[in-house]
């Protein structure tokens, strides 16, 4: 059994912000079934802030917990603040992840970034700190 922290188990057993935003301002989809996890993030933006964040996740306990934590960290932040959420910050907030589950934490931050990028592209705006698009879901842990 993976040695998950209490925080990971809490977010897995009681995930926050699960679901879909029907009229989302941005959508970010990452991962593939071969690596095991898929995540979709939906964002609603108001006055440059993430008014709402929701997710759908196909994956293990760590993947669900990472999605939940990422959504919680992002909600209410400005877009500039939200793009600063890194995989290691998410892992830290979850009180650590087993070594072979690090790649799950990459996916959470990537999916959020992708949703914000989607929003930025639709609006034709640039957001400070937002990275260029890169191949997602292919960062295989460690």
């Amino acid at each position: 059994m993976p040695m998950y922290s209490g925080k990971v188990m809490d977010h897995f057993m009681n995930p926050r912000n699960v679901g879909e935003i029907k009229d989302a301002d941005g959508i970010g989809e990452v991962g593939n079934p071969v690596c095991g996890d898929m995540m979709t993030f939906f964002i609603k933006v108001k006055d440059n802030r993430l008014e709402d964040v929701k997710f759908q996740t196909f994956g293990c306990g760590a993947a669900v917990a990472v999605s939940s934590m990422t959504s919680e960290m992002a909600k209410g932040k400005t877009l500039e603040e939200a793009v600063k959420i890194t995989p290691s910050l998410v892992a830290q907030e979850l009180e650590g992840l087993p070594k072979n589950k690090y790649h799950c934490s990459n996916l959470g931050a990537q999916a959020l970034q992708k949703a914000i990028r989607d929003y930025a592209q639709k609006k034709g705006i640039t957001i400070e700190g937002l990275e260029e698009e890169k191949g997602e879901g292919d960062e295989e842990g460690e």
Binding site: G6, M9, F12, E20, V34, C35, F58, N100, H103
Partner: protein, 402 residues
């Protein structure tokens, strides 16, 4: 493990007997004296060694009876993995003058598959034969791949992940016609279904005690008389020099006792467990839609029910089942340390996203109908909860609605 909102489950149901069985009280009782009073080394030339020496020979007879072999053909090892390594490497190296080609199936346990790959790196040639959608090896496919220089074929008797039982007698017939040695990994089957090595027609067979209510750390390789076997380790005279090292007397005694009890109780265990298995298979397939049975529907281990639940992932199911007091296992990528989906499910042609939903229940003599009904009751809300989170399920529903 902490869950944050800990609540004691209504029931505790162990359905992971393939991982390991508990040790029966009679087995433990038989083992205990050899940890304390009867501590001598069987190889010693004094009376302290006599009783443990006799105990080992008795266990050898008990194990031989279980597979219809002769006691002097039994080599005790520590685990099924060791027995498989000894068979593949020891038999291949023993035949080295005759050729260098080995055949194994695609769904072998890693102790066979990786032992064969190690030999490949050392200069042997390896053919991995495929399996069909139920995990069955086609005897003709094995026969087609036998060459002049083929020295060993290894195909497992039953697969621990999908429960499929292979037509070993048919495969061995083709292999023996070609005059090639044939090993079968019967770790998952021995002690659970009748395993008669003369009927199977094999030259070597691996078995392990912790699959039939014996202790961990006790296993054996049966090798037909006058078959050349190179030991994995160098050392003393134990096990005829084929497996040196001071014998693990209590574990071997436990293996022997478990074998004796398996012979006695096998018919009643098989009847009980196959009924419970069918109750679980039928119950789950009815209660949870978009779930498939993996492995052969009828040619399968009596205590084995394996599935793939679509749109969700195995480890997440295991965590939620565990929170309800239910122990199961999965071949999903996330549950493997290597983060790769089960090679068995992929070899059977299942796509990765389906293989990710792998869920395996293995039953044992401690289970009853109440356990099965409890699992069938707890599964639908667990599956539903994970599907409500799943982007794959959301897509599926959208496409269904059109």
């Amino acid at each position: 493990m902490t869950t944050g909102n800990e609540k004691k489950p209504e029931r505790r149901v162990y359905l992971d007997y393939i991982a390991t069985t508990p040790v029966l009280p009679e087995v433990l009782e038989a083992m205990l004296p050899y940890f304390s009073d009867v501590y001598g080394n069987p190889q010693s030339f004094h009376s302290w060694g006599d009783e443990p020496g006799e105990a080992i020979e008795k266990a050898r007879e008990q194990v031989a009876s279980l597979v219809d072999g002769s006691p002097d053909e039994i080599v005790f090892t520590s685990t099924g993995s060791e027995a498989n390594n000894l068979a593949v490497k020891g038999l291949a190296q023993g035949q080295i003058g005759k050729g260098k080609h080995i055949i194994v199936s695609a769904i072998e346990h890693f102790s066979v598959l990786n032992a064969a790959r190690t030999l490949e790196k050392a200069g042997f040639e390896l053919t991995v034969v495929p399996v069909g959608k139920y995990g069955l090896v086609d005897p003709d496919e094995v026969a087609r791949n036998i060459r002049e220089d083929t020295i060993l074929v290894s195909v497992m008797h039953a697969n621990g992940e999908v429960g499929t039982i292979q037509p070993i007698a048919e495969i061995s017939k083709r292999v023996k016609e070609a005059g090639v040695l044939f090993h079968t990994d019967a770790v998952a089957s021995t002690g659970n279904v009748p395993v008669n090595l003369n009927e199977l027609g094999v030259d070597a067979l691996s078995l392990a005690a912790n699959q039939f209510y014996g202790p961990k750390g006790a296993a054996a390789l049966w090798v037909r008389k006058r078959t050349r076997l190179i030991p994995l380790m160098d050392g003393g005279v134990q096990e005829g020099g084929r497996r040196p090292g001071t014998e693990n007397v209590p574990a071997i005694v436990g293996l022997g006792k478990a074998a004796e009890l398996a012979i006695r109780d096998m018919p009643s265990r098989m009847t009980k467990l196959s009924q419970l298995r069918d109750r679980l298979i039928n119950g789950l397939l009815t209660a949870v839609d978009h779930t498939i049975l993996t492995g052969h529907p009828t040619q399968r281990l009596p205590h084995h029910a394996s599935f793939c639940v679509e749109f969700i992932e195995g480890e997440a199911m295991l965590l939620l089942l565990n929170s309800q007091g239910i122990a199961a296992s999965s071949g999903s990528a996330c549950t493997s340390r290597a983060l790769k989906a089960s090679h068995v499910l992929i070899a059977m042609g299942l796509p990765h996203e389906i293989a990710q939903g792998s869920l395996l229940f293995s039953l044992g003599i401690g289970n009853n109908e109440g356990d099965i009904d409890y699992v069938v009751e707890k599964m639908p809300p667990i599956v539903d909860r994970l599907r409500q989170m799943s982007p794959l399920y959301a897509k599926f529903i959208k496409e269904k609605r059109g």
